[in-house]
Symmetry: C2
Amino acid sequence: MMTEVGIEARPIEIPNGLPYVYGEISSGKAGAKTVLFYNHYDVQPPDPLQEWKFPPFGAEVHDGVVYARGVADNKGNIIARLNAIEAFIATVGDVPVNLKFMFEGDEEISSPNISSFTTQNKELLKSDVAIWSGRPVDAEGRPIVSLGNKGLLYVELRAKGAATDVHSMEAPILVNPAWRLVWALATLKGPEEKVLIDGFYDNLKPFTKEELELIEKTPFDEDERKKDREIESFLLGASGSSLKTNLLTKPTCNICGFVGGYIGRGAKTIVPSESTVKLDFRLLPNQDPDEVLQKLKTHLARHGFQDIQVEVLGKMPPSRTPLANKYVDTVVKSMEKLLGKPAVIWPNCPGSSPRYAIERLGIPVIDTGGCHSYVFSRIHSPNENITVDGYMRGMKATATLINSFGDLR
Amino acid sequence: MMTEVGIEARPIEIPNGLPYVYGEISSGKAGAKTVLFYNHYDVQPPDPLQEWKFPPFGAEVHDGVVYARGVADNKGNIIARLNAIEAFIATVGDVPVNLKFMFEGDEEISSPNISSFTTQNKELLKSDVAIWSGRPVDAEGRPIVSLGNKGLLYVELRAKGAATDVHSMEAPILVNPAWRLVWALATLKGPEEKVLIDGFYDNLKPFTKEELELIEKTPFDEDERKKDREIESFLLGASGSSLKTNLLTKPTCNICGFVGGYIGRGAKTIVPSESTVKLDFRLLPNQDPDEVLQKLKTHLARHGFQDIQVEVLGKMPPSRTPLANKYVDTVVKSMEKLLGKPAVIWPNCPGSSPRYAIERLGIPVIDTGGCHSYVFSRIHSPNENITVDGYMRGMKATATLINSFGDLR
């Protein structure tokens, strides 16, 4: 398809992963900017199949809505971008900027090879700006422009006791691995939510005054969210700007899962043989996952928990393109003009994404798009969909961005 | 069977449980002592059936060993006692003490009705001394005489968050119920193993100097136990008399099970919706389970954990007959004479037992027997067994005790 629309394209094989697809179009103009588009072509499994109203790989259109696995995340975005290029060339004849495309096949399994891929292909990927896989518009139809993601360190801590569960009458003489983890965890973070690992907050790159102001202005419907989560209040009673600041700017230390001993119904009197806890740390620039891991291990040893084993289950560095970057302004203005509404700018997203792998090449990375709405697109779930209108919006967004970058000198 | 051997016996129905079986024989002598024997006729399920070498309900004898579910715990003990009575009457003609028998059918489900049964039948059960269901001899063939049990309070603590597990990018704004439990637990007990609930140790009845000396002398093969448990050391590095003192005299706060969030293989990034922990407290005289429960609730509220729900899954008061009680001396001497070895006296067992329900009637309760050996009897497990020799020893123990009590004035 890329070749058909006029892109010089080829797969790039990598060890232990699905190939990247790389493509480019030269503008032929001296001094033209180079724009890199990132997308991914892999999807989540379509299960549970019985919950789909229409076949997950049928791409059926009903009442102006396209239903298909990947249509919102992220194949629809790829095709909208390719269609935009096709239309652009058919209409204008050429492109005002050099275009590069990097499509990944392992995003849904946390992009295990993206760091080595971008490092090994640094020259090939060299660009002035990168546009990430494509943010939806928000519930009010406002364009979203996202400038950063939290990083991730995912570890499993394991404590061991006797070879088997033992009658709890021996509790006074046996090490209880669940207690070991409880005490270790309680040294990592207290109810005031501050992470107590020495140096955890050391490398944090401060947000600028402008970035913090944007975060405080981010639309966030607290009542809607509370209703959806069935909760009466947010953590520590936060609300308004403090709630949004917490969500977008705080690194975390979160228990994803804890298990040890008897977990069935009723009572069983044992000292567990083993216990594990899964923790994810969401990190902000410039917290490095490897450094945080080392600090965690040092912390555990210093607090007397040398017996606790640490296994790493995932790592991803954080990323942030400064709000002050000139391409941000270009993207915001062009998206606002296209959609006729003020952009919602996120200096930082609460989740994680591998865009650090491009950013570390010195390329600003901006995520925006406009293909579909948040509320109904059901990413990763049955009945994933976008609207036909949203699809057209996504094409226009790509064309608009190309034009805007073409105007830059 | 009780009637056949000369006991006046009848079932006593109770609401919501299996009937107790009560029986008595009057000695006909003025001033004779009254001895109450407690046993239970219920057993654990025989599963897993395929692991039995012989049918669990066949009571087959092979090489001097009887294999059957309940033969060691506790039907064998009942029948040995009844056979002893039969032989006693056949040989001597009458009994030198008044005998009472109380056989329970719900012991294996923690004797939920024993407290109301003994309270309602206080007059019927009135005795000078009670002999409990029958301790085995130890690995060296020494008689064991046990004078007390720890009590039990079993609770489940539950913390709740959002209605479902939520993507962990929301960790900065959602209450995490697993963290709530971790922090609450860390206020209950620290790594030094002291329970931090206000007043937890308040009512502890001290052990006498003589009791503590006995505990320090209790045989305990540390290397054997460590090998069996596959551990390198005991809790807090305890050894020798401190290890035995910890095991027999310390009340505990033990995590039996902890679960919350994702507990499968690999990583899943969520904030758990709910988390629970099962705790058992082993209590010593005079810690009352209801009082400890109230102190626990007060503690949680005082430390800011009003959100944590407490459900009681089990309660049993502790018990202890003083070493100085005159019947203890009678039992120890007669068992030592019978077996020709010094008795191992446990002022307190590490586990729990419902003998408090008799003790609270003002009756000293002593557990001894001699039917089988610890090492091979496999209580609650496949191939439960006793030796024929051990069975004979159990009969003789009953007869010896009756004779010894008959000599008391």
